[in-house]
Symmetry: D2
Subunit: 250 residues, 4 copies
């Protein structure tokens, strides 16, 4: 069985401000999505985070975003596809600078926050993001949200020549179309560790989830997003890692 | 004769603000020092400037700076050597992102403004800059101001394993130590085109300049800094290029 | 006859980058909309621009924007009404700091670019902008785009207790709803000085314009936006000023 | 007895990043030095912090800084006196915008970090800071570090017409000149609560401290800087407040 890779947002501190338990969660993940200075991080924090990933044998991914430190990259900024393409090239390259100094390389790209959502909604922005990845290194996978109907995005990726990794969540409820239920609705976020691990295992086995209307939902899960915000989420990551280790031994 | 390479600051526009006659001056230079977004430029302008350099067969150099758009990187910022190292890695990498998309690569590094001056003054900052260049690509030349006594900097470069390119100016008066005469003093800047071309040719031939106290001043001139700010400076660059073409034919 | 006040965007330089012919156009306008550092300007330029306005007896208005220097405040940023309110308070206050040092005061508020357009489209953002103006100084007029049906905006302003100044353009074609024709369509922008002056005079007399479908369009015109971008637009401002002086003598 | 006012840096969060226990420490201080967006804070956080100060009857002070979020305003930036003057006017005004919305006003100015230190070292920068305060509101006190020989600064303040408040620290060791002992030296920072309270009381009574060479050191103490970084420092503030309440009853 090919288990989904565990990816986690990292390097989200900025200057004197701390965020995230990177040291605690790094040992349990496969992929570190490292902020590139536009929504979080700065050159010193990027470098330290890359070094931490290298120390734990974790793959480094670029986590580019709209230029919005105050809004943490969570506010849509009306950019053209070309602006998206260029800001992604800039940020991927900047992170590569840190990787070179620490003996590794950027292995994949996961757009952040509003940019990630906007590109799922607007095919022209998605094409811009794909052009950036292709121009930078045509072998780099681009992460995109898994959906119930991945065919259109798969076709676009094939047309462009980009490798997609579909991303899923273990701690979020899905609607029948495979979209995350809005955080404003009850039951949108799973807090119970057993529920989270069970959803992770279901995704890893390639079995169907139960959407929030009770229907069966099949999702491609190349990678699973986990969180290192606090002790509770780190504990969930360890539990998922343990469960995946069990699956690997089966 | 190995002629000094003509280098020129480029890509110094920002967003809607224009600066510099990049289109006019690019055909006559060897090396484009491209701003990396910290003192000027943005991802879109960086990419267009790299494309322009590629079109004219001009080498692309990173022109990293302190993070100070308002001050155009001309105000010293009290950074640690490690902060200098990391901000340079970030900026060189970001420019490389643009180079990859345009089919070229970063070929050298010239720190900008206050960073360039501070690193000439403070050996620890210079070491930080050298570590950045080495970590990024140990074959990249680092530009540094030529002086009357280049031995200490040469020894440091040799110890660190960095290639130095000494930079000179054709339109500036020098003091006997090989430092630029301050712009606040009379005669600091040459405005007459013949004087500028004559100084460029003297430097190219490896002959001594006359310092501002009348003494002879020998300077290593791997590269010569020229300017594309306005029509007059572009005309001077063309005249230097013509003179150098003449020297090359001799 | 109460003539529309001529307002012009000013102080749009930033650091070393110059934009706009503020010195040339200031003598001919009534109101200077001064950028507040979020889309353009910086503290030094703001202060010089306020001083120039004072010298010519021109009223100073705050020209707040989304925080986006690279995009010149022309890209929508998905902000909450409270974020809009607070960023406007910040920018109005910052400009007031400059006004105090130059012996004047902020006299009105004109949101800039994408913020201006978003608030015309979204009543909640408009309420946020109105709350900022009220909280700062309930006597300050807020500029808003004139439309064919100003009643809804007038009612909201009355409910909130805000003074509105409706703004019109002399160099732009209107559609029948009183919206500016998109710059992408032919005939959207008038370049002919006589046409511009004629439209200004029509607006000043309170007569109907001809919309781009040939219908008559009545617009309230408390103020008229003019431009100081280049010599041509400054000449148009002088011509409008001459025409208005003529109307005033009638 | 006129007790020193307790002042504390506040509003040092930024966007999603949290810093400082403002809610916990606000009830025990007299003066809140609120960051103005250049080294920390943003319009939303500034406004919430002003509202919190108003709720507890605490005076609001502007805490302007060099523009350096990454360095938290702790890195010197080589600015001209005029640049310092204008950036202070901008930041004081911006904070006033928030004060107007919350029914209070800026009551004093305390420059932050490297700006505070630079202005203690360079009389021209101090004059720039004084001009800003005077131009904004000539009754606003400006905080400056107390020294063993306050006469020169007092004379300058008198010449300029500025009110100075000398600031002291209860948790730091002093050298015989009344300068803070560098944090790099042993014994520079007091961690023991009794020592801190004792130094605060000594300053409040106008008695001499013991400098780090054993000599007696008299310091004018218009205000005492306290910290709300963590639970321990908040407990120290409560203990100082209790001690001052006791002195007030004597």
């Amino acid at each position: 069985m090919s288990l989904p890779l565990l990816n986690c947002d990292m390097g989200e501190s900025f200057g004197n401000w701390k965020m995230g338990l990177d040291d605690e969660v790094m040992p349990y993940v496969d992929c570190a999505n490292i902020a590139c200075g536009f929504h979080a991080s700065d050159p010193d924090i990027m470098r330290r985070t890359v070094a931490l990933a290298v120390q734990h044998g974790v793959r480094v991914g670029a986590h580019p975003a709209y230029p919005d430190l105050q809004g943490f990259g969570r506010r849509s900024l009306a950019c053209s596809p070309r602006e998206v393409e260029d800001m992604m090239l800039y940020q991927i390259g900047a992170l590569e600078g840190m990787c070179r100094a620490e003996g590794t390389t950027v292995s994949y790209v996961k757009p952040h926050g509003a940019l990630y959502n906007d590109m799922a909604r607007d095919p022209e922005l998605l094409r811009g993001a794909m052009r950036a990845v292709l121009a930078y290194d045509c072998t780099l996978p681009l992460l995109a949200m898994a959906t119930a109907d991945p065919a259109p995005m798969r076709e676009l990726a094939e047309e462009m020549g980009v490798t997609l990794w579909f991303e899923t969540f273990a701690d979020r409820a899905y609607d029948p179309q495979g979209r995350l239920v809005s955080r404003r609705e009850p039951g949108a976020v799973h807090h119970d560790r057993e529920t989270i691990v069970a959803q992770a295992v279901t995704l890893a086995k390639g079995e169907a989830l139960t959407a929030n209307d009770g229907s069966a939902l099949g999702l491609a899960a190349d990678t699973l997003c986990v969180h290192g915000d606090n002790a509770e989420s780190v504990a969930a990551v360890r539990a998922i890692r343990d469960a995946f280790d069990g699956l690997a031994r089966e």
